[in-house]
Amino acid sequence: MDKKKLTKSARDSIRGWMFVSVWVIGFLIFTIYPIFRTIKMSFDSVIISANGLITEFVGFLNYQNAFLSDVTFTKALIQYIGQIVLEVPIAVVFSLLIAMVLSKDIKGKGLMRTVFFLPVIIISGPVMEKFTDMGLMAIQGTQDSSLIDSIIMMLPETLGTLLSTLIDSFVMILWFCGVQILLLLSALQKMDKPMYEAAHIDGASAWESFWLITLPNLRTMIVICIVYTIVTISTFDTNPVISMIQENMFSITSGMGYASAQAWVYFFTLLLVIGFFMLIYGPKKANLYGNSKAVKQQMKEYEKVIRDQKREQRKLKRTAGKEE
């Protein structure tokens, strides 16, 4: 029995690798290899012909074209950045609001949870396209408003388009919130109730305890929600940038090399956007409310109050037990 000679940790190592090996193989074939091939292709001119692919090294030409010659691409990219920067905060704030309301003891909570999660099940590119075409995703009552139209006309073109897409697809932003609402809701429900009670006893208003207790405690979850929202919106079918990349794949003039370069530019933009959000609201950063000394002091006091309360309760129980 060779097996017995192996230590437990060595055995665990082998077994662990055995279980995850499927993923590792898949990762190498379907992710790592394609990533490197896309890098290589982005420096090539790739054209599909009857005899297979014809590739030719062209250096940075594809990237140059993407930024300097292809006006539609840069425009779509800027539009995409603006859209994310605008929509992600809206989505996260609404998710948080809805989750907080649902975490209260209200009637019909289960039903509302079901309603808010429903869009996750049915959301797909073509369906959203149809809804937006019919104006069903717009803020109702704004479609034919001359005031909004004139505001859009007054703004510079990029901002104007941004505002009009925001209005036209506002409900769609909310529809992206289903998962986030549930994540925040279950994080809220796991939060320490006595903490709030102690804060309340100390005279903290609901507003204060939101900023001092709820938000700092939810920080990690909110960060997860921000990333999730960014990725969901970025990979959604109606995103003009990604449909452009697919179109270019089969275009005779640009081809797969150019599409690869665009894909890389797009990925870096996505990373930059995530980085931007993490700078503003990342994990573990010293934050105005969560980590200030005064707040920590306050927290300690709350914890002390809670301990005292518990001790008091135990005492009461003991005396009650004696009386019996």
Binding site: D12, G125, P126, T220
Partner: protein, 294 residues
Amino acid sequence: MQKKAQRIGYNVMIYGFVIVMGFVFVFPLLKMISMGFMTSDDLVNPLVNWIPYSFSTENYERAVRVMGYWKTLGTTIFVSVTPALLQTFTCSLVGYGFARYKFKGQNILFALVLATFIIPSQITMIPQYLMYKDLNLLGSVNAYLLPAIFGQGFKSSIFILIFYNFYKQMPVSLIEAAEVDGGTQMNVFFNIAIPIAKPGFLISFLLSTVWYWNETYLGSLYFQGKIKTLPIQLQAFVESFNKLVASEGASGVTANEAAQMAGTFLVIVPLLILYAFTQKWFVEGIDKSGITGE
């Protein structure tokens, strides 16, 4: 007195918010259903807002023909359920490996799993497309199945995370007891781990099915028009509509809003039915999966 007034005000605010938000969420769906029943006269009639004058099922009947509904439905179910099954199974194995064992390189590997969530498919799809072309997988469901088997399906990192969290909750003492009794690792996995992670299997399978169902970006690329799912059919709805009308010789019928909404409704109604029966698992599964970070 004042306190009571305050509480009433608070309740009005809370319920008001929930009801308004709920309505905003379902508004497009309600409008879609109502529009689907409208005739072209109703659409232009300013007096008709929600309830059409004459309920016409014509739009739905025609949409069924336009999309070849029943056949397409069967295809869609097949194309979304099979990869979902494979993906769920693989992710359950991988999640178990991460949760149960300590091994070298584990942390890096797990970080990679999570990182794949951020990598957009645009980065990998071109070489994947060429690969499937060489392997003759284009235009068949295998282009979905192959990555799914290897844990590289749609959003598989989420499912691995879900399983990881479920298996982390396994009592170690139970496993050790089984091992002392001579159970093999596979025995432990099948007899102890899987039963514990049952809700994980359910939520993963359901979410995965739904996400495969709704995917059209990669679907249209890999299937090359040879496999048509309902959302892909919806993409080409107006075009196929006009073709059908021309072949049926019905003049004056256009793919108006009502017709398109009827088509949209037919595409999502199977999902709505699925959700009606499984919403509890969806909603509670996410709660139980412990993604909420312990």
